[in-house]
């Protein structure tokens, strides 16, 4: 079965990103396909490579990056939400004349259309948020 996952909250502050990760992992373990994980609202904050949580805590962003690499996941950060919250990839960096970018490995920034497309193509859309 084809799943799409929507994550509306940033890392650590709310459990949403943890729950979405655990759900995605469990779905993959059962042989399902996860066609896209879409990060919206504060969820875009999962996609920065600049976090350094305490060493005895999980590294939420790295965990997503690794899962994406292992399962060829499509991790999409909403561009409109990212602009408001300061998540920037190379293209956005150039377009908005920023000196640096902060996107993490395995994440890409794209439009809201990617969420709607996921809703059309997936058999199930499961949302995690606040």
């Amino acid at each position: 079965m084809k799943f799409a996952v929507l994550v509306n909250e940033g890392p650590y502050t709310h459990q949403a990103s943890d729950s979405a990760f655990n759900f995605t992992q469990a779905a993959l373990e059962q042989g399902h396909q996860v066609i896209r994980v879409f990060f919206y609202h504060d969820g875009v904050n999962n996609g920065t490579r600049l976090t350094t949580p305490p060493q005895d805590d999980r590294h939420i962003t790295n965990r997503w990056s690794q899962l994406a690499q292992e399962h060829d996941l499509d991790l999409v950060v909403c561009v409109a939400a990212a602009q408001r919250r300061g998540i920037v990839d190379e293209d956005e960096q150039k377009r908005h004349n920023k000196d640096v970018n902060n996107i993490a490995d395995g994440f890409r920034i794209s439009g809201l259309g990617q969420l709607i497309e996921a809703g059309i193509q997936a058999d199930r859309l499961v949302t995690f948020g606040d």
Binding site: H41, A80, G111, G113, L115, I116, E117, G119, I120, G129
Partner: protein, 141 residues
């Protein structure tokens, strides 16, 4: 748009708005999805319930708090192929509001000489149950 999308899958999208405007920006970002969704030729409806009904309140003016006033955007929903806007009656009543407190949203009916028709349907909780249950893709704000 990809080929698969043009192949004609049409799903019922329901955007469920349960939060008040301005205190958070879910309302604003929810509108953005609805407008962008128009390009995908899907069957799109909006549901307003709980504090979401406050989004449709007349007379909003955010100049005083310095945030973006997006309430005018609701008026263009009809132009973006959103033909059904459902508001739960119980949520209105619980908050001391009635239909007269809501912005009068309309759309132009292309099958009927572009006649202006009301976009808002006030529905009971039971009808809202049905609307939710009949939708294919539910996105919450």
């Amino acid at each position: 748009m990809s080929e698969e999308l043009q192949s004609g899958i049409v799903k019922k999208f329901l955007y469920i708005n349960r939060r008040a405007p301005h205190g958070t920006n879910y309302a604003q970002e929810g509108l953005e999805v609805a407008l962008i969704g128009a390009a995908f030729d899907q069957d799109v409806a909006m549901a307003y319930l709980d504090d979401g009904v406050f989004q449709l309140k007349t007379g909003q003016d955010t100049k005083t708090i310095g945030t973006k006033n997006f309430s005018a955007t609701y008026r263009v929903l009809g132009d973006y192929d959103v033909k059904r806007v459902y508001v739960e009656r119980e949520s209105l009543e619980c908050r001391g509001l009635s239909e007269g407190d809501l912005m009068p949203l309309v759309y132009e009916d292309e099958d009927n000489d572009w006649e202006e028709k009301p976009l808002i349907h006030i529905v009971s909780a039971e009808e809202m149950q049905q609307i939710i249950d009949e939708s294919d893709v539910l996105i919450n704000f």
